[in-house]
């Protein structure tokens, strides 16, 4: 299989006062090149941990993470990450935050400028391009983080609840934008969300995880054609898949 990212029998434990806590328990998962997968699961089931391994920021206790068939070489600009906690550089304006990654690519200044402007516009922050993060509202911070990741235009996008702090309309707009970009440029996307609707609407496959210990519970294929449309959200097929995912998440057999 032509896997872009492979998780091979991943175990992640944390030492605790009383024994160890198993955050991920033998998780294996392949994400194909140019695939869009979403990950859902109860709070604390290890979604962020798994993603952080793909980013090269966390090491598994045992098991292996492969990118393009080779062990993950640490973090790199080929895999863009949007963190659950935004992680903006507080001393840089919105524009400078977005340009941070572009500077590292040694782009000519006007090209850099252009791409930053574009990403900022995409998330609707043009009027705040020169504002410092501390003056932004929660949703605006999140959008800035999104713009920063988009601007670099990485091959793989790892997104941890990227639209969690956004109002419904902005959210739908950004979902459609993301799908649009993805289908045009065919990036690989791993997208964590707690919104089942969103998970189904975006993905080719929905990874349903279970908690205590964190593991892959079920993988639901979404056999809806791209481009996805608002009508599809109302289709019976969508409702069926939605229910299947919901069921997978919330009627899990209790773990040992």
């Amino acid at each position: 299989m032509n896997a872009k990212i492979s998780f091979r029998d991943i175990v992640k434990t944390y030492p605790m006062k009383d024994g160890v806590f198993t955050a991920l328990d033998h998780v294996s998962l392949d994400i194909a090149d140019r695939e869009f997968v979403t990950v859902v699961g109860p709070s604390g089931c290890g979604k962020s941990t798994l993603m952080s391994m793909a980013a090269g920021l966390t090491e598994p206790t045992s098991g292996e993470v492969l990118v393009d068939g080779a062990p993950v070489p640490g973090p790199g600009p080929d895999r863009g990450v949007i963190f659950q906690q935004y992680a903006l550089f507080p001393w840089l304006s919105v524009r400078k935050n977005v340009e941070f990654g572009l500077k590292l690519m040694n782009l000519p200044p006007d090209e850099r400028r252009r791409r930053a402007e574009h990403a900022i516009e995409l998330v609707g922050l043009s009027d705040f391009a020169d504002a410092l993060p501390k003056t932004l509202s929660g949703g605006m911070k999140q959008r800035c983080a999104i713009a920063r990741a988009y601007a670099v235009n990485p091959q793989v996008l790892l997104m941890d609840e990227p639209f969690g702090a956004l109002d419904a309309l902005t959210r739908v707009q950004l979902q459609d934008q993301l799908l649009d970009t993805w289908s045009r440029e065919r990036r690989t996307v791993m997208f964590i969300t707690h919104d089942v609707d969103e998970a189904v609407y975006l993905a080719r496959r929905v990874i349903v995880m279970a908690a205590r210990p964190g593991r892959v519970q079920q993988i639901v294929d979404v056999d809806l054609p791209y481009p996805r449309t608002e009508e599809m959200r109302l289709s019976p097929e969508f409702a069926r898949i939605r229910n299947e995912v919901w069921h997978g998440v919330y009627h899990q057999p209790k773990a040992a």
Partner: protein, 268 residues
């Protein structure tokens, strides 16, 4: 201003405070200085033997200003302190980074940094003379060492305390260690670095007298030692006050720099 309006104190006083702030601080500073002078006068006139009064010191200062000695001494000392301080604190930043970032550098450097930090500057002088002679170099070196050693701890801690998520954010954007240092660690630890610089500044001035033990021909520390031979307390006080005031001015400049550099911080 922003931080003051969000102080969370009842509305009216906070607003008033925000408005009148710079002037109020100045007034308070003045009050403090006047109080200090009063206490001093009291000590000098009533209790303590040998203590010159503020008037006597002012008269002596007048003399020293008039014959140009004070200006010349102040300039000589200022040059030494500035040089030593700048080199010391600027070197402390990369060294603090190395120690905070690479376990190897830390293991090798830390014993020395900690060891020499506790060694009094007076004790360094013989070695400085042997290795560097009796010109300006050993004087600046002693000051440099004091400034470096007292600010490197702070810088080091700043590096260690940088929020991990920010470093991760830079890494995933493809930043090298060097970039992370310059573009993330340095700005993120600016508050610590500036504390380090302010502490280093204090050490630099505090070491001046010791430094000017090395065959100085002029300088505030030298003048004070001379005066000590003659038990000329007024001149010693003029020297102390000149050092204090110059130190205070430089500290204010650093504070100003800090305000501008850490504007992005969310704080009270």
């Amino acid at each position: 201003m922003t931080q003051l309006t969000t102080l969370g104190k009842p509305a009216a006083p906070a607003a008033r405070r925000a408005a009148g702030r710079p002037r109020r601080t100045l007034v308070l500073n003045l009050v403090a200085v006047v109080l200090g002078l009063l206490v001093w006068t009291l000590l000098a006139t009533i209790g303590v033997q040998g203590l010159p009064t503020p008037m006597e010191v002012a008269a002596k200062a007048g003399e020293l200003v008039a014959d140009g000695t004070l200006l010349q001494d102040a300039l000589a000392s200022l040059r030494r302190v500035l040089l030593g301080f700048l080199m010391g604190t600027l070197l402390a930043i990369p060294v603090g980074f190395l120690m905070g970032w690479y376990a190897t550098a830390r293991g090798l450097l830390e014993p020395y940094v900690q060891f020499f930090r506790t060694i009094p500057p007076l004790a360094i002088i013989p070695l400085a003379i042997v290795l560097l002679g009796i010109g300006e170099v050993p004087k600046v070196f002693v000051i440099f060492l004091a400034a470096f050693l007292s600010s490197v701890v702070s810088t080091f801690q700043g590096v260690v305390d940088v929020d991990k998520t920010l470093i991760n954010a830079a890494r995933v954007l493809g930043a090298s260690d060097r970039t992370i240092f310059l573009k993330v660690v340095v700005p993120a630890s600016t508050p610590f670095i500036l504390v380090g610089m302010r502490v280093g500044l204090g050490s630099a001035w505090g070491t001046l007298v010791a430094a000017e033990l090395i065959a100085a021909q002029e300088g505030l520390g030298y003048r004070m030692q001379q005066a000590q031979l003659y038990y000329d307390l007024s001149t010693i006080f003029v020297g102390l006050i000149a050092i204090g005031v110059l130190g205070l001015l430089m500290d204010r400049l650093l504070l100003l720099a800090e305000r501008r550099l850490t504007d992005w911080q969310e704080r009270r």
